[in-house]
Structure formats: C-alpha cells, structure tokens
C-alpha cells in the first residue's frame, strides 16, 4: 500500500467570494460553507469564524478538530462516515497544511474543552499553531443528544472535505510517501531488524465515548489489523469527548505521531509490522476478549516488540495493562504510552491499575496540572460553559476574565499518541 500525502503549506485563511487557494492562502466562501453545513436539518444555524495563531482568541467548548484534505481522483474523504465505503491509505491525498476545522457546541459540558490561540494556553495545545476555521453550530430545538453529537461530528467532516476541495487543482510542494509492502515481502528484505507492531487502543463506551472505523462504531468490532496508511488517510474518526486533554481528535488520528515515528525508523532500526486497533469496551468479558484477541494478533504478526497507546483513563487502564501482561508473557516487549492523573501536586497514583510487567512507560503529562490563562479579547463559542468543562469549576472564571483550569480542559494537551506539545526534562 502506497500513500502520498501532498502538503500544501498555507500561510493564511480569509473569506472571499470563491473558495480557492491563491498564493499560499486559503480563501473561503463563507456563505457556501454555511449552506453546506445547514443542509443537515438537525442544524438550525451554522456560524463560521477564523482564529489565527497569536490572536487573543479562546475557542470553547471544542468538540473535535479535523484536518482539511482532498483525495485526488476517485477517492473519498472519511469513507463510511462521510461517503461510501472505499478503502483509503493509497494514492494521493492533498493536505491543507497549517489549517484545521474546529467544531464547537455544548452537548454535555463535562466532556468538552478549550483552545487558546495565544499566551500560556497556546503552549499547551498543538491547535494554537493551526489557522482554525471554527464552526459554531446550533442544533434545532428538541434534538436528542445522539443526533446532536452525530450532527456536529459529520459537520466537522463535511467542512474539512469542502475546504479540501480547494486543493483539487493545486499540487503540494512537499510530498511525504508512506509505503509498506505486504508483510512476507517486508520480512524477507528486513530479516535482521526487530519486528515492531503498534496497538492503538480506541475508546468505545457509549455516546461521547465512541470511535469510528470506516464509519463503523468501534464497539461493534473485535480487534483488527489495519494498515497504518489507512489511519493516516481518514479511516478513523473521533466520536470521543473523553477528557479534552487526552481525547484523540480526528486531526490527531490523521497525523498519528506514533505511526509517523515508526515509519521514520522502518527499514533502518526496525521492521514495522503494522497496527492492531483495540476497542476499549465497558464489560469485563468484552475487555478480556479484546485484550486476548489483540495479544493473539500481535503474536501472529510475529512482533518482537510493540508500542501500545491508550485512550482515556480509569477502566481503559486495565485494558492497557492486561494487553501489556499478555504480550510480555509471550516474550514480546512492550512500551506503553499514556498520560497521568496524578493530582495537582503530581503525587497521587498515576493510573488506576498497575502491573510489574509494565516496565517501559511513556508519560504524556499530568492531566491535573493547574494552569492560569489570561483573559481573551475574543471568545468563539461560549465561555460560560467553562465551569462545566472537565478540569474547570465554578471558581475557574477569574474576575478579570482569565481562567484557571487543569490541563484536563485544554484540547490535546496530554495526547496519548504523543501529538502534543509537552515534553520531559531531566534535571
């Protein structure tokens, strides 16, 4: 499978009469985009705004972030979710590099987050560095939460596809190629290198805690092997509003850091064997089944080592540790990637479960770390939702318009696939 991600670097976004790319700038016909979004009868009103890096803008409450793209030729963007099923991960996909679609809308406050485009808050989220096309979507009155969530999710994808169409006639200056031949051919050529796999855990626990694989609710699948290119090319869509800091947005799926790193090392240090998607279910029997099935798939791939990334905290910790133990018992080395819920002072137990086999663990940050953010000049969305955010509280709104929250409230701040800004320092 061979995928070319053709990156069109964009320096600015503005509104104009026709959606197009001109001189490294994306020009958006706002009215047309609004019409596309309001085609969905569940959406009463769509408002579109822009937020650029450095502007004193706070976006709140954020539901998802999506990278606008365009499949060249017959391909479909987000197949199964947005269009008919068609395998992705091959051919050319054009990326509007530097631009993101951000959806906002309050469904249940405790599950949403914020993005600051400037100052201290900007340091904590990667989405302060993208030029954001922000969709503020008001649903029709009386809509139930299932429809509301789906309407917002699909609206974000539609906007990303609409903007992506502007790249139909524009070639990217930078082309990244992702190519992994079939496993037997890979192994023949790279016989001396350690075989490394990747277990990507996906939250699958009900409304606002779901993920979609080619449009299929991940609760309905057993663990499965998927080509890494498919993930990079839109096979995974987030329906997840797990705590804002470690929910894996659709944008982060499209730019999965672990897959990118494994690709960079493939053929030099490792022989990348592929990805297993492991849904995190609610029942103990379901968890047990999926963990065993995941371990079996990794073993059958012939991996010597595996990276396991989690999504969430609490009961997903037991999946993470169980997969780790099952693999270590089979002699397969594991590295776990997770964030920590260690309390504001950082001294509490980080995970809800532990195992002696988990010797190599990468922490992506402490979700409880408190941050004080200055007042914004402009709010996109509704700042009054702040006390309802995970990581927020009634006293989060400071008298001067600034806010004090835990990292929990900042979108993508402790991403468990490593697509974030935090790093560790030895001292």
């Amino acid at each position: 499978m061979n995928l070319q991600l053709s990156r069109i670097k964009l320096d600015d976004v503005s509104f104009g009469s026709q959606t197009r790319i001109e001189d490294d700038e994306l020009i958006v016909n706002k009215g047309e985009l609004v019409d596309v979004l309001e085609e969905d009868r569940r959406i009463e009103k769509a408002e579109v705004s822009l937020a650029r890096p450095g502007e004193k803008v706070r976006i709140i409450p954020v539901k998802d972030v999506i990278e606008p793209r365009c499949k060249v030729g017959e391909g479909t963007l987000f197949p199964g979710s947005l269009g008919e099923m068609q395998q992705v991960g091959q051919g050319e996909t054009r990326v509007l590099d530097g631009v993101a679609v951000v959806t906002t809308g309050e469904i249940v406050g405790i599950q949403e987050g914020l993005i600051d485009m400037w100052g201290k808050g900007a340091e904590y989220t990667p989405f302060s560095q993208t030029i954001n096309v922000v969709l503020d979507l008001t649903p029709v009155e009386g809509i139930d939460e299932y429809d509301h969530e789906e309407a917002l999710r699909i609206a974000g994808l539609k906007a990303a596809a609409y903007l992506g169409e502007a790249a139909e006639d524009v070639e990217g200056k930078e082309v990244e190629e992702f190519s992994l031949p079939a496993i037997p051919r890979r192994n023949e050529k790279l016989a001396d290198l350690p075989k490394v796999g990747y277990v990507k855990m996906l939250i699958a626990q009900g409304l606002l805690h779901d993920s979609y694989v080619y449009g299929v609710d991940a609760k309905n699948i057993i663990p499965t092997i998927i080509h890494p290119n498919e993930i990079l090319d839109g096979a995974l869509v987030s329906g997840n509003c797990v705590a804002a800091c470690d929910k894996i947005t659709t944008y982060q799926h499209q730019n999965n850091s672990i897959i990118n790193d494994l690709y960079r090392r493939h053929g030099r240090q490792i022989n990348f064997q592929g990805v297993v998607l492991a849904p995190e279910l609610t029942t103990l029997e379901g968890k047990n089944r999926n963990c065993q099935y995941t371990a079996s798939l990794i073993e059958n791939l012939g991996c010597d080592g595996v990276i396991i990334s989690e999504e969430g905290y609490g009961n997903p910790d037991s999946d993470l540790l169980q997969i780790c133990k099952l693999l270590e018992d089979r002699g397969i080395k594991t590295v776990l990637v997770t964030d920590e819920c260690a309390g504001q002072d950082g001294f509490s137990q980080s995970l809800a479960d532990s195992r002696p086999e988990a010797e190599a663990v990468i922490s992506t940050g402490n979700v409880s770390h408190p941050v004080k953010l200055p007042p914004a000049e402009k709010i996109l969305g509704n700042q009054n939702t702040l006390p309802n955010l995970a990581g927020g509280a009634e006293q989060s709104l400071n008298g001067d318009g600034g806010v004090t929250v835990e990292l929990n409230a900042v979108i993508g701040s402790t991403s468990e696939i490593g697509y974030h800004n935090l790093s560790a320092e030895l001292y």
Partner: protein
C-alpha cells in the same frame, strides 16, 4: 447456578424513569436496584453483592478522569456465574472483581466529588450503561429482558 437475570445497581436518580434501558434488553429479567446514596456506599454495596455470588459484568471504573468526580455510577451484575466455570476459576474471578471495586473506592478517597453537575453526570452514566447493555445483547448473552424495578432487594 446460572441465572439470566441482570441487575443494575445504581444511584443515578434518572435510571428508574428510563424506558430506554428496557427497550434495549428484551428476553431475560432486568432488575434495577436503585439507591439514594453516596457513590462510596454504592461501591460498598457492590462489594457485598459480589460476596453474595453476583457477578460484576461491567468495569466499575469510568473511562476518564473527569468522570471519577461523578457522584453517580451504575454497575451491571448478573445474578450468578456461568455453569462451566470451576470453583477455582469462580473464586479467582470473584477476587478480581473485588479488587476492581476496592481500587475504585481507594481512588475515590483522593477525589473531590462534584455534586454541582449531577444531571450532566447522570446523562453520561446512562449512555455508558446503554452501551454495556447493547454489548451484552450483541453477544447474545441476554436475549430477552423484561424490566422490573426493584427498589428493595
């Protein structure tokens, strides 16, 4: 001592009125043990149920840190363990279930329960319970339920 009955132990006040649960499970018996108590007491009762022979079906822990502060939680139990298990397997499983509940209780000691957004937490709790019931229905474990509200066990 297989028993098809499924028990929801909950302190979610809106569960009792929730027809959606009943629609989702049809075929065996669904009992709702509704409790008006703090979450810590709910977990203690869950531990008692496990000691009495009920089998914990869902993981008691929520799926994220935000929900650790929730004042409400619903847990799904079956009335007994599967026939095919040996006594040692059953005991091992029971110990595992108790360990999960005790860990949850232990973690709660460090958490400030958020009583101000109870309604929001109740909604999320119901969605998670619905997901668990759907999971069971898909697996064909409990094919037909009739709802029965059981306030006093």
């Amino acid at each position: 001592m297989a028993d098809d009955a499924v028990v929801v132990l909950t302190n979610n006040r809106s569960i009792g009125e929730k027809d959606a649960l009943e629609e989702m499970v049809s075929g065996s018996e669904l009992k709702i043990f509704a409790r008006d108590c703090e979450i810590r007491n709910l977990i203690l009762e869950a531990e008692e149920m496990v000691n009495e022979g009920h089998e914990l079906v869902t993981d008691p822990l929520p799926p994220n840190y935000a929900l650790m502060s929730a004042p409400v939680r619903s847990m799904l139990f079956s009335a007994g363990s599967k026939d095919c298990r040996s006594e040692s397997q059953t005991e091992k499983k029971r110990q595992n279930m108790l360990k999960k509940l005790q860990e949850y209780r232990c973690r709660l000691q460090e958490i400030l329960i958020d009583g101000e957004r109870r309604q929001e937490y109740e909604k999320v709790d119901i969605w998670q319970l619905q997901a668990a019931l759907q999971e069971l229905a898909r697996g064909g474990i409990y094919s037909e339920f009739t709802a029965e509200q059981n306030q006093a066990r």
